[in-house]
């Protein structure tokens, strides 16, 4: 990445509107600035415009009004093929992209649009299969994989292209606990390597626990954009976006309602555990002292 590129916001969405041919206004006056290495969650009810918004980032959808800048450059004239090298979008349904004879071929297909030699493609394929624990399925048909493994393969086939921006559409949908854990570790690793990550999700607990910045959308508009604990802690906004408060926020409210004095920023799981531990400890010692 050039020095000048590092100074510019990675993604700048300027007054973007999008209306589908049937007249549905999916995006209205969207303004966003996303910096390098950020991890962002986009949340909201179905039909809020989340998926439409991420589709504008790699040119699958061209805004009806406004402009999108990537490293300060307007993407309007860039092809999807060019943009997809920088912005990797991982779709909800893995079956929409798996078609090759084997897991290995599926990864190689994604690498063929780059000017890699045959040997480089093979090396990169081996690396990615190892990283995603898919080596044992190397020669298996992608259509014979389980739902979770197919999703992993779809993810691997985008990650192998090493895009600067990784966009996930509902990555936790239909995933078991271990698969979600794998996803969390993957996101952490990619951030360490300087990648920017955008996640569209309905999983409020996942967002509350792992995503530092959240954008809340409804009816094609951005309702809120800020630190996750503040955005998801705002009951009115959360209800407007047809979501429910995260469990930590609900517990916080319940504690306050029952008259227990607790700090206002008690939204993370760790902070809550520490508070409850201290609270029990204090209460126990009070009782012991009272008995003495």
């Amino acid at each position: 990445m050039k020095d000048i590129e590092k100074q510019l916001p990675l993604i700048l969405i300027d007054n973007v509107d999008f209306t589908y041919p049937n007249g549905t206004k999916a995006l209205r006056n969207i303004n966003l600035k996303i910096d390098n290495k950020e991890l962002i969650g986009i949340m909201g009810k179905n039909g809020a415009g989340k998926t439409t918004l991420i589709r504008t980032l790699n040119g699958l959808i061209r805004p009806t009004n406004g402009a999108i800048y990537l490293y300060g450059e307007n993407i309007a004239s860039k092809s999807i093929a060019t943009l997809s090298k920088k912005v990797g979008v991982i779709f909800q349904n893995p079956l929409h992209q798996l078609f090759s004879n084997s897991v290995k071929d599926e990864i190689e297909f994604s690498l063929k649009s780059f000017e890699f030699t045959k040997e480089e493609i093979q090396n990169k394929t081996n690396e990615i299969l190892k990283e995603f624990n898919l080596e044992k399925y190397r020669n298996r048909s992608p259509l014979n994989l389980s739902g979770g493994e197919a999703k992993k393969l779809a993810l691997a086939s985008i990650i192998c292209r090493d895009p600067d921006i990784i966009v996930f559409d509902e990555p936790t949908l239909g995933q078991d606990g271990r698969e979600i854990e794998f996803l969390i570790n993957l996101i952490k690793n990619k951030r360490k390597k300087g990648k920017t990550i955008i996640i569209v999700t309905h999983n409020i607990e996942f967002a509350n626990e792992h995503i530092p910045r959240t954008i809340l959308m409804a009816d094609g508009l951005i309702l809120a954009d800020g630190p996750t604990e503040k955005v998801l802690g705002n009951q009115i906004l959360v209800e407007k976006a047809s979501l429910i408060l995260p469990q930590t926020h609900q517990l916080n409210l319940a504690l306050k309602k029952s008259g227990i004095q607790c700090p206002n920023d008690l939204f993370s799981k760790d902070k809550l555990i520490n508070f409850i531990r201290d609270f029990i400890k204090n209460k126990t010692s009070e009782i012991v002292e009272g008995n003495d």
Binding site: N58, S84, V89, N93, L95, H96, L98
Partner: protein, 255 residues
């Protein structure tokens, strides 16, 4: 690439003379217009048949959707012009284009104005087995769903560098695999899911069924059918006696 044109075959509820006709009358209409189009290879009779469709399109308030269906044919029209002009003549190419436009327009009007549920009911009243009628109406209902799915597949493949417009015939054919295989797999999976959902709701458990809604061939349907039959008879008579028809009917472009 957009599959938006497939919406030109999706039923849209409206209140119009065409929408209120019995689906059987509209099925007869689509078939008779297609047969009439196949009877002629000359430009003028085909133009006349095509023009006779316009009042029906207007009566059904379908201009926008109909234009989309014709727009969807643009690639096919281009191929027809190139192939026919090269091997036969421009006149024949134009005739073939009008013929296809007539057939597509007739079926587009049929699909746009016929509720798939009414279509099933009309087939049952024509003594088709219920399972067959239901499957057919279900197939029509799934056309827009498949179009949406196809668009998602195109988007997913393009997101990993798949380029649709590659030059060369072999490349173009190769290019179809990343789209067709996921589409077929997803369609088969959906078919199984729908079948299981139907069975879990005891589909086909009773041989004799009763229906909440029934449809009736009304007076206006009979009038419309009469018009269609006379249209077909006139077309056949003109075809048989084409040699003694006025010369302007057989006019063709000389290039």
């Amino acid at each position: 690439m957009s599959l938006e044109f497939l919406n030109a075959f999706k039923f849209m509820k409206k209140d119009s003379f065409i929408h209120n006709l019995d689906p059987r009358a509209k099925l007869i209409f689509a078939l008779i217009y297609s047969i009439s189009a196949l009877l002629f290879t000359e430009i003028i009779p085909l133009i006349l048949i095509f023009l006779s469709l316009i009042p029906l399109i207007l009566a059904g308030k379908l201009i926008k959707q109909w234009l989309k269906s014709i727009q969807g044919l643009s690639y096919l029209i281009l191929i027809i012009i190139i192939m026919n002009t090269f091997f036969l003549s421009l006149s024949f190419a134009i005739s073939m284009i009008i013929r296809i436009c007539i057939m597509v327009s007739a079926f587009s009007i049929f699909f746009l104005t016929s509720d798939p549920n009414d279509l099933a009911l009309s087939l049952i009243s024509m003594k088709f087995p219920y399972e067959f009628a239901f499957s057919l109406s279900l197939a029509f209902r799934f056309i827009p769903t498949i179009a949406t799915e196809a668009q998602n597949i195109i988007d997913a493949q393009q997101s990993r560098g798949y380029e649709m417009q590659k030059s060369g015939l072999i490349n173009q054919i190769k290019n179809l695999f990343p789209l067709l295989i996921p589409l077929i797999i997803c369609s088969i999976k959906r078919a199984f899911n729908v079948a299981e959902a139907l069975e879990s709701r005891a589909f086909g458990s009773k041989k004799e069924r009763t229906y909440y809604y029934t449809i009736k061939y009304s007076f206006k349907d009979w009038i419309f059918t009469l018009y269609l039959l006379s249209f077909l008879i006139i077309s056949i008579i003109v075809r048989i006696n084409f040699a003694i028809m006025p010369d302007w009917l057989s006019w063709e472009l000389i290039v």
